[in-house]
Amino acid sequence: MEAAASDRRGAAGALALPLKTAGLVLLLLSAVVLGTGLGSVTVPPGEVLGALWRGVTGQELAGNDVIVWQIRLPRVVMGVLVGASLSVCGGAFQGVFRNPLADPYLLGVASGSALGATIAIVAGWPRTLIPVTALLLALAAVTCTLILAREGRRFPPNRLILAGVVVGSVLSAATTALILRGEDRARQVLAYTLGDLGFSGWLDVLTVLPYAALGGGVLLLLARALDTLQLGELTARSLGVPVERLRLITVVAASVATAGAVAYVGVIGFVGLIVPHVVRLLFGPGHRTLLPLSALLGGALLVYADLLARTTPLSQVGIVTTLLGGPFFLWLLRRQSSE
């Protein structure tokens, strides 16, 4: 009886996980292929392959080569990076706060970077400064939240969430005030707060990469500690997990990765909230699978969303993710509650 149960577990566990993982990998690959192959300009598949070859080998690029190698591919890679970052951070935030509604913007990263971008836009600073100010203010916002939430050496989750809400609201109000003063640039600010991969080049990809790699890498390493935390704070501590340290490192790592991503492409909504939920539904709650697989799914989804954004009148990737993500999330909630 017990042996049978164990076998069944073995078979199901051994097969289902790699199969579903392979599914996600395929999804991501298809996203990259379609994202590179399709666009508002029609480029035949042969030419796409040729462009990739010439790009990789560093040959002279002309015509459609430029579109494929310098515009589409970095845009796709940026989509993968940002989607993966937001999803991993969302998963980690949900884990560390043990709150299914947590998302990477919980502690004020989004409103901080929106304010940073707005300052640069309204002041009329060069476009290249926008990500810099956005990044700085995003990190400043999280720092503020941490300081406000601090209780001696502890960072109690409820105080963190509350402080995050307060910091977010104050910064959003400041952003709105600035927008109203610089009315004619309101659309640029709006575009930023919706998120857009439009002008992402290789340079941007290379700039975002360290944030994503560092933040995401740290979070992946913390997976098992996050699992233990799911038993409850006291239990985790009794098992030897320094919970305060875990919380602080998780929050900082996730905020750095999120800030890096958001600074360059704007505040893309819903990905970080939904993707971890989907992965949890498919693979269970263990963070060792949840975080890496969220990266795969998040990367794929954002590339698909961006593809929709640039080939349909939905126009911005953030609109697509929110428009499709919102109803999907509701459906997910209903499904879960009916089970």
Binding site: M1, E2, A5, S6, R8, R9, A12, L221, L222, R224, A225, D227, T228, Q230, L231, G232, E233, L234, T235, A236, R237, S238, L239, G240, V241, P242, R245, L246, I249, R280, G284, P285, G286
Partner: protein, 270 residues
């Protein structure tokens, strides 16, 4: 107050509280408790609400800082133990912290192997070994939870979930298991079942310290520590602790204590 256990001498293998004080904010939750707990012994900590039972338990595991006095494990002050040693030796089952609903039973139990030897407490150092696997299997077997090791926690009954939690605590192969009201929210049958499983472990040499509310359940323990207002009112064998005088002093309620076969029964008198 005068029972032998309240003036312990340091001895190997014992978990001891020496004049332990714990301050909870401005409130002195535990005020000079001395007690000793031995392996192979089932001690129940009883007392009215607010007597300091949970606080004492947390101080014994090292989850709450002791403001005065000290806790010793095997003769060595607990604060000198490394996080790794401590988390291996002392397992703790919290009162209200449930198991993650979506997780599989076996995965939850495996988490009980603990993070003691992890780098910074956060990064698992060694890979999962056959020894770990065996410990998890053993914990599942001893709590009869192996049958549903693949089920999700949300699919378990209350009693099954509590046994899974017990298996999680046992997976670390601790010397002492400290439980904060493990039978709370459980039907009588399940509560008795939990005590039965604990009894088995005690027979195997585990030291069990459990905060219990139900005095008749506590009467099944080897020893009792009765707390009142942060201090030990009485401790020793159930027959010595569960007297109408002690219970009236602690709970302010008149009770009758009757011997039924080999068990004590506490009956409140209205």
């Amino acid at each position: 107050m005068s029972s032998p256990a309240s003036s312990p001498t340091s001895s190997p293998d014992r978990l001891e509280a020496h004049d332990v004080h714990v301050q909870a904010g401005s409130f002195p939750a535990v005020r000079g408790v001395s007690a000793a707990f031995a392996p192979g012994e089932f001690t129940a900590v009883i007392g009215p609400n607010g007597a300091g039972k949970s606080t004492l338990l947390r101080a014994l595991v090292g989850l709450t800082p002791v403001t005065r006095g000290e806790v010793r494990l095997a003769g060595r002050p607990l604060r000198d133990w490394s996080r790794a040693e401590r988390s291996r030796a002392l397992a703790f089952l919290a009162q209200s912290e449930g198991l993650p609903a979506a997780a599989r039973v076996r995965d939850v139990v495996a988490l009980g192997r603990g993070a003691g030897d992890w780098r910074f407490g956060l990064l698992p150092r060694s890979p999962w070994t056959a020894e770990d696997e065996a410990a998890v299997d053993a914990a599942l077997d001893r709590t009869d939870t192996r049958r549903f090791e693949d089920r999700r926690v949300s699919e378990l009954s209350g009693g099954e979930a509590q046994r899974a939690a017990l298996a999680r605590a046992l997976a670390a192969q601790p010397r002492f298991l400290l439980l904060d009201e493990p039978t709370n929210h459980l039907d009588l049958a399940y509560a008795l079942e939990v005590v039965r499983y604990l009894r088995c472990e005690v027979a195997g040499g585990l030291g069990v310290v459990a905060v219990l509310h139900d005095l008749n359940l506590a009467a099944r323990a080897d020893r009792l520590v009765l707390l009142h207002a942060g201090q030990v009112l009485a401790s020793g064998r159930p027959a010595d602790v569960l007297t109408p005088a002690h219970l009236h002093a602690a709970y302010g309620v008149r009770v009758r204590v009757v011997q039924d076969a080999d068990r004590l029964l506490v009956i409140p008198e209205d």
